[in-house]
């Protein structure tokens, strides 16, 4: 079944005048059917009812994923077949710019083991321990010499 309105490029509720105007540009095979059916009120009402039903069925088939089924041939119902359109998703909104902390990134990827601030701090503790130990050692030696 053909969608005569679609072929004539007019709306479903087009007036007789609008249909007559669009007939001029229509291909001959469509023009004959459209003249016979759409310009006669009784025939048009029967045709419209069947067209409305097929539009409903086409929408339901699309919604329920029944487009590729044995009773819905794309060739036979090409005017009603709803083709899914894939649109490119909109780009996500740009995040506000912020200063990148190199150390934070380095820590996140565990690359700051030998060059990080914490590493330096750890060495400082060890230096302090070593100095205290040397100082304590020196004090013991001095006191030991002083006792003689």
């Amino acid at each position: 079944m053909k969608d005569l309105y679609k072929r004539l490029k007019v709306e479903g509720g087009a007036t007789e005048e609008q249909i007559r105007q669009s007939l001029g540009a229509a291909p001959p095979n469509v023009r004959g059917s459209a003249e016979l059916i759409l310009l006669d009120a009784r025939r048009r009402s029967v045709y419209d009812r069947n067209r409305d039903l097929l539009l409903t069925i086409a929408q339901l088939r699309f919604d329920l994923g029944l487009n590729y089924t044995p009773f819905w041939s794309r060739r036979q119902f090409k005017d009603f077949w709803i083709v899914p359109t894939f649109t490119t998703p909109a780009a996500p909104p740009e995040a506000p710019k912020r200063r990148v902390d190199k150390m934070m990134i380095a820590q996140a990827f565990h690359t700051a083991r030998h060059h990080g601030r914490h590493h330096a701090a750890r060495w400082g503790i060890w230096w302090a321990v070593a100095l205290i130990a040397v100082g304590a050692g020196a004090a013991i030696v001095i006191l030991w010499h002083a006792s003689f």
């Binding site: 053909k2 069947n50 097929l54 539009l55 409903t56 029944l66 089924t69 819905w72």
Partner: protein, 256 residues
């Protein structure tokens, strides 16, 4: 299609009924059957009587009257709810029974219109019944082959139809002339022509053929088979069975 009729604004929403009801299966079955009955633009008196009896058979009568009113508007969203529920919640046997029920409703007025033909094809696809199995079911229920749908967008179809020939075996019955005929038949009881139509027989069928067709159809349409689908389905089948019995009585000369 969503209708733009201002009266639709006051019509009940099927979605709201579906959310509040406890009888989901009955409500959805009735929705689909109402759609089948009303798809050709009118509900024939016989179809209306059948729908009324279905509504009586289910406890939640108020709900079902609202379902009928909502579904008659043919809103895609409403129909999608019922279709989705039935597709997801019926087992294989239940789906086949529902297809048989839809066929019974489609031919309740004695003919299969172009719209009913397309709708039955949709139901078969929805419920996963393959074309060959569907043709077999149709043959079982109606005792005749499933016809090709006519094409109301072609000039040939109209020429043949208006010349008095069947444009296709599935001529569109949804016109005023046929409505008058249907009412006449309701008042005067079943005629021989209608009885032959109900039993899928040709004029001049022998008594033996009538008996054989009756046995086959009675087996296929027996109400007990439809019990798993709930009271709405059983009522539809019962009415169809009664009509078959009436047709048999007419054709066999009151032997039934």
């Amino acid at each position: 299609m969503t209708s733009t009729d201002p009266a639709n604004a006051t019509a009940p929403s099927f979605a709201a009924i579906f959310e509040t009801t406890q009888h989901h299966q009955s409500v959805c079955t009735l929705a689909v059957l109402t759609w089948v009955a009303s798809c050709d633009g009118r509900i024939a008196p016989r179809e209306q009587a059948l729908l009324d009896k279905i509504a009586e058979s289910v406890d939640d009568v108020e709900d079902l009257a609202a379902v009928e009113a909502a579904v008659r508007l043919h809103r895609v969203d409403d129909l999608a709810i019922a279709c989705r529920y039935l597709k997801a919640n019926l087992d294989r046997g239940g789906k086949r029974l529902l297809v048989q029920l839809a066929i019974t409703m489609a031919i309740a007025d004695g003919s299969l219109s172009v719209g009913e033909n397309h709708l039955l094809q949709f139901m078969a696809d929805l419920l996963g019944v393959r074309p060959r199995a569907f043709a077999k079911l149709f043959q079982q229920i109606t005792h005749r082959p499933f016809p090709q749908a006519g094409d109301p967008s072609s000039a040939e179809w109209w020429h043949q139809r208006e010349a008095g020939h069947a444009a296709a075996p599935a001529a569109d019955s949804a016109i005023a002339e046929d409505t008058a005929e249907e009412e006449k038949e309701t008042d005067a009881g079943m005629t021989r022509r209608v009885a032959l139509n109900v039993m899928g027989l040709e004029e001049g069928a022998t008594l033996e053929k009538v008996h054989s067709a009756y046995r086959r159809l009675a087996k296929a349409r027996h109400p007990d088979r439809f019990a798993p689908l709930g009271p709405a389905a059983v009522t539809t089948a019962t009415e169809s069975f009664k009509r078959l019995h009436e047709a048999y009585a007419v054709l066999s000369g009151g032997a039934a």
